[in-house]
């Protein structure tokens, strides 16, 4: 446990210094990674125009999450795919993304981390995924 925390702290320290170390090239890589991540998450929704209805409602409810990058980062974190914002630690397959989403959604429901969007009781990750389609 302690070892894991120490590794996380080290990663955080490393990641926070990354822009300085890499300069514009590093920012570009991070942006590309973030864009890729957003795209991969959006691809999970096959009817984005419908998800947008729920997503719009979620963004209005949580304006602090309205920006796509923020949503993707939070969602990526929800799915347990990265400890460090902006750091791409793996390239999960679509199947792995679904599995991670399923696990995440059930866990969020289990601990009461849900939101109500147009009456629907949704896991927060579900709502974020819809909001990402905006």
């Amino acid at each position: 446990m302690l070892l894991a925390r120490r590794r996380t702290l080290m990663l955080l320290a490393w990641a926070s210094s990354l822009p300085l170390l890499l300069g514009s090239t590093g920012s570009l890589a991070a942006e590309e990674a973030a864009a890729s991540r957003t795209g991969r998450l959006r691809a999970l929704i096959r009817e984005p125009e419908l998800a947008r209805v729920l997503g719009r409602a979620y963004r209005a409810q949580c304006p602090e999450e309205a920006e796509a990058g923020t949503l993707a980062r939070l969602l990526w974190s929800d799915l347990g795919l990265s400890d460090v914002p902006g750091l791409q630690v793996s390239e999960p397959s679509r199947e792995q993304l679904w599995t991670a989403l399923d696990t995440c959604v059930r866990a969020q429901f289990g601990r009461g981390d849900s939101v109500q969007i147009q009456g629907w009781t949704l896991a927060r990750a579900e709502a974020r995924l819809c909001a990402l389609c905006e």
């Binding site: 999970l44 929704i45 096959r46 009817e47 419908l50 998800a51 209805v53 729920l54 679509r94 199947e95 679904w98 599995t99 989403l101 399923d102 959604v105 059930r106 429901f109 289990g110 009461g112 849900s114 109500q116 147009q118 009456g119 629907w120 009781t121 949704l122 896991a123 995924l129």
Partner: protein, 515 residues
């Protein structure tokens, strides 16, 4: 033996050891138990063997405050009382339900066991595993779940006036007087002893009854009404020193369709929370709050059942002529993968968009609505008083002011939110709250009562907090007892009949001990 009271001589005097006023579930149970040949028992029943318009009209009263079923329509006034329209739902109160009672579940359980026989439930068990069949399974809830499963076992239902008529006819030293309406309870000048009853028939006949012990068993509204009308000695009514008679009136509040559920119709869990047959009995499962959550959030006892609205079939998809036409937007499915499925449902509820998980939809999805039943906490302002009008016998009618707590809707929606989370956690389905704010629907328009009248002569060891003591004897009166749900100081989400019978058995044991 049955006697039509209208055939008695005017001013006749009935004498007995125990006089029971009312021939419903409580009165009949008491009469059967007490008529063991060791004492003379009489029952004074207002009606006959069947529904009678004139007798039923004696129930008329005034409703003020919240909407309520007309008082002459939501109970029945003939032998068997309201068991004549009882649906039969039974479940014993649990320890938390009885937290405000002067005794706990342990003191009541043996009476519940006997009540189970009387209500024709067969074996006494309310354990889930004893009423589970493969086609209807309770949702497996983790130990830390905020919800718990429960079930109601249904009586056939037992029509007490029919099923036990022969017993009443043949029991030793038992006489049931029909068409005999008690209009006044007389007491001594100190109002410490009941000295007799004034009884009237609708044809004008008047007579009296005298006994060593009296039991008031006329129902949750009438018990209070009769005490309040018996005001010759105490102007506020008999047993009403502390202005408690008629207060704390309680009834179950039911709301239909507070939420819509989309779920896998093939899952056996979707059958458990609706009425179904097991071992020859109707069973109805429900969700309620865990004990820990009820304490933590001060939620009222509630039960949520799930009812099918219909199943979405492929044929229905896209057929705009159906009541709930659906257009399936995705046909592609990913085996063993979680994929979103979005449905556009232009149903009568004007829902723009709904979505569920595709993997729940190996078979056509089902649409369901919830059935919410709640037992709001007792409120002294929710009460029965006397109105200005009088009935055909000269008694002042009841005036009912039924009140719900201000947070009723909040707790109802909180209960549904918890259910939505549990359905999501288990992968069973998704739940949508119906409200003016979310879907434009107002489920509160469907608010109805259970016709379960409780609390008006509540039980408490302290006379400042209750009308009757732990033995169901009215505080300060040595020989007047009360049977029925009017003694409930609090209640659960259950029909009261099963507990009424258990309490009547308990009271009969006490009365036997006095003689």
């Amino acid at each position: 033996m049955f006697i039509d009271a209208r055939t008695l001589p005017q001013n006749y005097m009935i004498e007995a050891d125990v006089c029971i006023i009312g021939g419903g579930a409580a009165g009949i149970t008491l009469a059967r138990e007490l008529s063991d040949g060791r004492r003379k028992v009489v029952v004074l029943e207002s009606g006959g063997f069947e529904y009678d318009v004139g007798t039923q009209a004696l129930y008329a009263g005034e409703v003020i405050g919240g909407a309520y079923i007309p008082l002459e329509a939501d109970r029945l006034r003939f032998l068997g009382g309201s068991t004549n329209h009882w649906q039969g739902s039974c479940r014993p109160f649990d320890a938390l339900d009885l937290a405000d009672w002067p005794f706990g579940f342990e003191a009541l359980e043996r009476y519940y066991r006997r009540a189970s026989e009387i209500c024709q439930l067969g074996r006494y068990t309310f354990e889930l595993q004893d009423w589970t069949v493969s086609e209807a399974l309770p949702l497996a809830l983790p130990k830390d779940s905020r919800l718990k499963n429960g079930l109601f076992v249904y009586s056939p239902p037992t029509r007490f006036g029919t099923v036990y008529r022969h017993d009443l006819e043949t029991a030793a030293d038992l006489t049931v007087y029909l068409f005999a309406n008690v209009v006044q309870i007389d007491s001594n000048r100190e109002a410490s002893t009941v000295t007799g009853l004034q009884v009237a028939c609708l044809d004008g006949k008047r007579f009296r009854a005298r006994a060593r012990h009296y039991v008031l068993a006329t129902g949750g509204i009438e018990n209070a009404r009769l005490l309040l009308n018996s005001n010759h000695v105490q102007s506020g009514g008999l047993g009403n020193d502390n202005d408690l008679v008629g207060r704390y009136f309680m009834d179950h509040a039911n709301v239909h369709g507070a939420a819509t559920i989309l779920a896998d119709a093939s899952r056996p869990e979707m059958n458990f929370y609706n009425h179904h047959f097991v071992h020859g009995h109707i069973i109805e499962g429900y969700f309620s709050a865990s004990d820990a959550l009820r304490r933590e959030e001060h939620l009222p006892p509630f039960a949520i059942g799930i009812r099918p609205m219909g199943t979405v079939t492929q044929a229905a998809v896209g057929n705009l002529t159906l009541p709930a036409p659906l257009r399936r937007l995705l046909s592609e499915r990913a085996a063993n993968a979680l994929s979103f499925d979005l449905l556009r449902i232009q149903d009568r509820l004007q829902v723009p968009v709904e979505w569920v998980y595709d993997r729940m939809w190996r078979t056509p999805p089902g649409m369901y609505f919830t059935e919410y039943g709640c037992g709001p906490p007792p409120d002294p302002q929710s009460r029965v008083t006397l109105g200005d009008a009088t009935d055909a016998l000269g008694m002042r009618e009841s005036r009912l002011d039924w009140r719900l707590p201000a947070d009723f809707e909040r707790t109802m929606y909180r209960a549904h939110e918890l259910l939505g989370q549990e359905l999501g956690r288990s992968g069973l389905g998704r739940l949508r709250i119906e409200s003016p704010a979310t879907t434009g629907q107002n489920p509160m328009a469907s608010l109805s009562q259970g016709s379960h009248h409780m609390g008006t002569t509540r039980m408490h060891t302290d006379p400042r907090s209750g009308v009757v003591d732990a033995d169901a004897r009215i505080h300060g009166i040595e020989n007047l007892f009360v049977a029925g749900s009017s003694v409930f100081p609090s209640y659960a989400c259950d029909d009261p009949t099963f507990t009424i019978v258990a309490l009547a058995l308990r009271l009969s044991d006490h009365l036997k001990s006095l003689s």
